[in-house]
Amino acid sequence: GAGVSQSPRYKVAKRGQDVALRCDPISGHVSLFWYQQALGQGPEFLTYFQNEAQLDKSGLPSDRFFAERPEGSVSTLKIQRTQQEDSAVYLCASSLWGGASTDTQYFGPGTRLTVL
């Protein structure tokens, strides 16, 4: 596709449910990033993949958050036993390389997660 796509665009979950958020990066992009954006705030880094390798997961808020990118393309962010504080927009971004600090990150439209 032409850009980064994410699905679903909106997700409502009851507290305690597990959710899975999908990201399709731009074809051929090596690096993939997940960010969390709370209402009225800027995005905050969660985790980073280079191909299928998860090289940085320092931003994941707890062990309930898990991300994977098994074939180096599509990525899934899974949140187990969702809590109300998990309500946010989850943004995915990809870049051609990612190792270079001048490499532009292209963002998807995000998944808005609401935990009731």
Partner: protein, 113 residues
């Protein structure tokens, strides 16, 4: 945690006026980037300025960077209604594995006709 803050938090101007947003950050950086986010849409990269640059232009955008003050400004000239959006500065630090971005809190710009 957020790297820095944008100022003002909200700005309302009329079409044709200039809009200036400021960003302050806390630690040393490699580069600073500005992004725009429209309601319901993803972040769009606007411009990148390297740490050894002081000013950069792109169309109606002008960005300055003062590393001694750890601050940057984004000027949008001759604003249009379509410029209505939230604007974020983002700094990056090469961590050895990736250039992960640290965003500010954003400035919400409203351009009215």
């Amino acid at each position: 945690s957020q790297q820095g803050e944008e100022d003002p938090q909200a700005l309302s101007i009329q079409e044709g006026e200039n809009a200036t947003m400021n960003c302050s950050y806390k630690t040393s950086i490699n580069n600073l980037q500005w992004y725009r986010q429209n309601s319901g849409r993803g972040l769009v990269h606007l411009i990148l300025i390297r740490s050894n640059e002081r000013e950069k232009h792109s169309g109606r955008l002008r960005v300055t960077l003062d590393t001694s003050k750890k601050s940057s400004s984004l000027l949008i000239t001759a604003s249009r209604a379509a410029d209505t959006a939230s604007y974020f500065c983002a700094t990056d630090r090469l961590t050895g594995t990736a250039s992960k971005l640290t965003f500010g809190t954003g400035t919400r710009l409203q351009v009215t006709l």
